[in-house]
Subunit: 322 residues, 2 copies
């Protein structure tokens, strides 16, 4: 099948948004931004075997490639508008795989209000996906990583660490504690494969949170990014990090895996700074885990005084929950 | 080197455009479109060994990845505004290679007025690049593939076919005619490696040409795209297709290579339809090669009556210049 047939068969979806004047099919798409709007743009590339296990179902590959980009829009407080998809496909990719891939992507795109406006398909040795999303914000507004102040509370949405345990379920099944039932393993795997971008939460935090980003590299590392951008340090309470019941059961059996949960990444939750005047109970998805303080920029200290690692590759994390 | 160091060292260029409120470094970039503007978005993925020879210099890889995308903006009549770059890098990529790559991309970006606003770097088995460009048009305007009418002239910019001969120079050096001197071979190779997007020509054709696109897949195939979108057929004069002096010397020695020139692709010239009222001498870069006519949609006939192939993979092209 050549590229044109492939696009026509699997990716020629109708555009729904009034801002999209021309979608797939010309040299470039056309977007007419409404007056008084600002656009925001994010991009992520995913490679099979590195960003998702090789045996990930095609629907989940598609979902994840779009979801991780939508998560960046959520972190800016933006509304999704449109996206492009570039696909590097191995020669032996089957039509059925593409149909399932396309279906998975279209479902997330449509329920997110995000039109496919362009793309490219090329041959590749390894399945490679590159998505660029464009979102919309009110003029002059955005939830960036900078802007937090000392005294703001640090909060995260949902549960942290399930995706990193899901990766262990797939890649190191012998490390899964015996007490984690098949349903629990499946739930962890779903959190790895099918992250849900926190779009409505992000929009509701716009103008409320003082800073924010999404949690994709690992909780501690991403908090470090917020601290670097805002010029602050943080004190956090590791025991307050919100965990799913499955993750709590896992940690009860393997307490040393706490490091994996707070550094593992792929959570796609939001991390935000909340000024003192904001009533956190207005945002039931959020859990306060600490506070932003003046101090060495980027440093995270546990409430009991221990410095925590914020950089990937930093290995000294033993006894962190002692 | 981890991803953050790499971005900081090689890709943290300053943004220049007033529309770019926030460039690299947050979850997403921010663009404030001026009132009365329309945005246009294009994306292309390039894979080493498929879209450029493995031994292509890093400056040229970078240039080409951005240039082919800017060419799509040129084909819409748009002014470049910003771009994102996702890089899949083999593990053994050297710092020197990245420095040269970054320099080559920055030079083209700066002289095109196109700010780098985001990106991603990931590990990959094969060097893979995905660029998404955003351009700007006056509200309500665009040069699309649709809109040509019977009676319009068909014109192309520059010279066609040099890049396909440049590919032969690299991949099949034994097919290069003996009369093509080293300087000529080098000129052909440069046309393959360093395409020059026709940005100012594209903008000058906005509101003048009735339809247009860039020539990337091969002259005949791309004319076919314009015909499909405009619902027309075309009559062309193959002997009028503008060729460089090197390409003419090559064809004198190997007349059968005409097919390669008009189907080979990678030209990144513009193909446009010019209504009867437009004086083509106002556009010295353009050469008229034929006319748009009513007829079976997508069909291209040579002036002497022979139908020409418009689809990739169609092999029957013998004696086309008889």
């Amino acid at each position: 099948m050549d590229e044109f047939d492939l696009i026509a068969r699997h990716f020629d979806w109708p555009a729904h948004r009034p801002e999209v004047a021309l979608a797939v099919g010309d040299d470039a798409a056309l977007i007419d931004p409404p007056a008084g709007s600002r656009l925001t743009v994010a991009t992520d590339m995913l490679v099979a075997g590195r960003h998702f296990p090789f045996d990930t179902p095609p629907e989940a590959v598609a979902h994840k490639a779009l979801a991780v980009n939508l998560s960046d829009l959520a972190a800016m407080g933006a509304e999704p508008l449109a996206f492009t998809l570039s696909l590097g496909l191995p020669r032996d990719t089957e039509t059925d795989w593409l149909a399932r891939f396309s279906g998975g992507m279209r479902r997330l795109a449509e329920r997110s209000g995000c039109d496919l406006i362009g793309g490219d398909t090329v041959g590749a040795d390894t399945l490679t996906l590159s998505v660029t999303v464009i979102g919309r914000l009110p003029a002059g507004q955005a939830l960036t990583r900078a802007g937090a102040r000392a005294g703001d509370r640090l909060a995260v949405s949902g549960h942290i660490g399930d995706a990193s345990l899901g990766l262990a379920v797939v890649m190191q099944p012998d490390t899964v504690p015996a007490g984690i039932e098949p349903a629990g393993r499946e739930a962890l795997r779903r959190r790895l494969d099918l992250p849900e971008p926190r779009l409505s939460l992000g929009r509701s935090l716009l103008g409320e949170a003082s800073a924010g980003l999404d949690c994709s590299d690992g909780l501690l590392q991403d908090i470090g990014h917020l601290l670097d951008a805002s010029g602050l340090a943080a004190t956090i309470d590791l025991s307050a990090v919100p965990l799913s019941s499955t993750a709590r059961a896992w940690l009860a059996a393997r307490p040393g895996d706490l490091e994996r949960l707070v550094t593992g990444g792929d959570d796609y939750e939001l991390i935000v700074a909340l000024p003192p005047g904001i009533d956190v109970s207005r945002f039931p998805e959020l859990t306060v885990i600490g506070e932003l303080v003046d101090g060495p920029v980027g440093e995270i200290r546990e409430r009991h005084g221990r410095a925590l690692p914020t950089r990937r590759g930093y290995q000294h994390f033993e006894n962190a929950e002692a």
